[in-house]
């Protein structure tokens, strides 16, 4: 089950959660920051098969990944114990709403989610890339060409981006990311639009798929932390300040590069115009 299908399935669950959010609003009178400090426990969500963001070791059940390292640092800086709840991409937002976790890293900011939870400042940005095979293009303008066939998963962020930037290209809308990848592999498309880390993981797995380019001007998607909506914003403010600090002191960048190895990406694999 891929993430999008899963999310759709979870719509049912979200409807339940929406009706019950009435209850949480009343229940969460005390600020999360106070609760974390008084209990000495930071509760976070993680996904077992979300490498390089999250990964639970098959051998010993230990957690690794880019966001796991961020969680560890956050707990350390707060001086509290870290408690990781195993969850799924589909349930992460519900976990926050249901007061099962205090923060969850790795969410895209979408209008639907903004209705029910709060978001942090961006943790990092991920560039939109094109995995190209047999064509040469380095700018969005060059991709915006009737001779170029671009494969994407329908209805995704990739879809809205190429619809906006390359309306003249032939856009092939397929059901899943893998279907779009298969289209490029089979020569039925010239390029697939993906975010950087996914594109790099794909190339690491199967180099013959194509080359990864970051078309100019660089377009980004941002990854955020999510919070339960609270009246008292002290927890969000704390995490926002903390994230900004980690970006400035280089921890986030180190962390990204270090964890890329989980999906077989070396620092030298990054395109020259890489930013985060």
């Amino acid at each position: 089950m891929n993430r999008r299908e899963f999310n759709r399935l979870m719509g049912l669950g979200a409807a339940t959660a929406a009706t019950t959010s009435l209850f949480t609003d009343k229940a969460s009178a005390a600020s999360s920051l106070e609760r974390i400090k008084s209990s000495g426990v930071l509760r976070v969500g993680a996904i077992a098969d979300g490498a390089p963001n999250y990964q639970k070791s098959i051998a010993d059940g230990s957690w690794r990944g880019f966001y796991v390292d961020l969680y560890r640092k956050l707990a350390e800086d707060l001086g509290v114990e870290l408690q990781i709840l195993e969850t799924t991409w589909g349930n992460a937002v519900l976990d926050l709403q249901a007061d099962k976790t205090d923060v969850f890293f790795g969410l895209n900011r979408t209008p639907e989610r903004e209705k029910v939870i709060d978001f942090s400042v961006p943790v990092f940005r991920s560039a939109f890339t094109m995995t190209v095979k047999g064509i040469n293009a380095t700018t969005w303008e060059e991709f915006n060409n009737p001779n170029v066939r671009i494969a994407i998963d329908a209805g995704s962020a990739h879809d809205s981006l190429v619809s906006r930037l390359t309306p003249n290209a032939q856009i092939i809308r397929l059901k899943t990311v893998s279907d779009a990848t298969a289209a490029v592999q089979a020569g039925r498309a010239d390029a697939q639009c993906l975010t950087l880390i996914i594109a790099l993981s794909l190339r690491a797995k199967n180099p013959s798929t194509g080359d990864v380019v970051i078309p100019e001007p660089i377009e980004f998607t941002t990854s955020h932390a999510g919070f339960r909506r609270e009246e008292d914003k002290s927890w969000q403010e704390f995490v926002n300040n903390w994230i900004n600090e980690q970006r400035e002191n280089g921890f986030v960048k180190e962390d990204i590069i270090r964890n890329m190895t989980l999906v077989g990406i070396k620092e030298s694999d990054l395109p020259p115009n890489f930013q985060f």
Binding site: T16, T19, T20, D49, I58, L85, T87, N91
Partner: protein
């Protein structure tokens, strides 16, 4: 042409075994829990008190007519918010699946009980047994024998329904299969292995049910 490679599965053998153990433990827990729920609901359905009958009926219909997936999510996320009782994914899953299974068991058990000849409870009453004792000693043993195939069929469904607990990240066989699929980039092989595991457990059980049905069919 896809090149199958089942040898990679060997790397995940512990993961699969762990998942299988959890699936079996879940089935056992939710079959027992479901029988307890179903028995209670069935007795309520047979009760002379209208309020008990109505409550049991409402309970059964709610759980029979909504998807288990939603029930799982509801038990884990919504119930704690309303009741204030915090639950682990495992507790919530056992609760939801027991109630879901129980709503089906209830109908089977009720049907089994009313299928027993009225003369049996009359004879028991005439011997001085209270209704409760007659139920326990005379009616239920006969009814259970009659319900056994239907109960086992429902339990087989229950076994398969446990696969839905993966939605709450409970590491059952399907969840572990998903992890292995993601890790190995070999979803076809891993899901095939998951299916084979389910089949190897359920197929002998369905044979047993069919055998029981024939044997009980003969003796009646």
């Amino acid at each position: 042409m896809y090149e199958w490679d089942f040898s990679i599965l060997w790397n995940y053998r512990w993961l699969f075994l762990e998942g299988l153990g959890i699936t079996i433990a879940f089935t056992a827990a939710t079959v027992l829990g479901g029988l307890a729920v179903g028995m209670t609901a069935a007795f309520c359905l047979l009760s002379p008190f209208r309020i008990l009958r109505a409550t049991a009926l409402a309970f059964i219909e709610v759980f029979r007519c909504t998807p288990v997936l939603v029930q799982l999510i509801w038990c884990y996320y919504a119930l704690p918010m309303i009741s204030g009782i915090e639950m682990t994914p495992v507790t919530a899953s056992v609760l939801a699946l027991s109630c879901y299974g129980g709503s089906f068991y209830a109908e089977i058990i009720r049907g089994g009980i009313v299928s027993i000849d009225r003369g049996q409870s009359e004879a028991a009453a005439a011997l001085g047994m209270t209704p409760a004792l007659a139920m326990r000693r005379i009616i239920l043993p006969q009814a259970l024998r009659r319900m056994l195939p239907a109960l086992m069929n429902q339990s087989i469904l229950q076994f398969k329904n446990t696969s839905l607990v993966s939605v709450l990240a409970v590491p059952d066989l399907v969840y572990q299969g998903q992890i292995a699929a993601h890790d190995s980039f070999r979803p076809l092989e891993t899901y095939t292995a998951v299916a084979v595991s389910y089949f190897m457990i359920l197929f002998p059980l369905t044979l047993l049910v069919r055998h029981l049905e024939r044997r009980l069919g003969k003796s009646e």
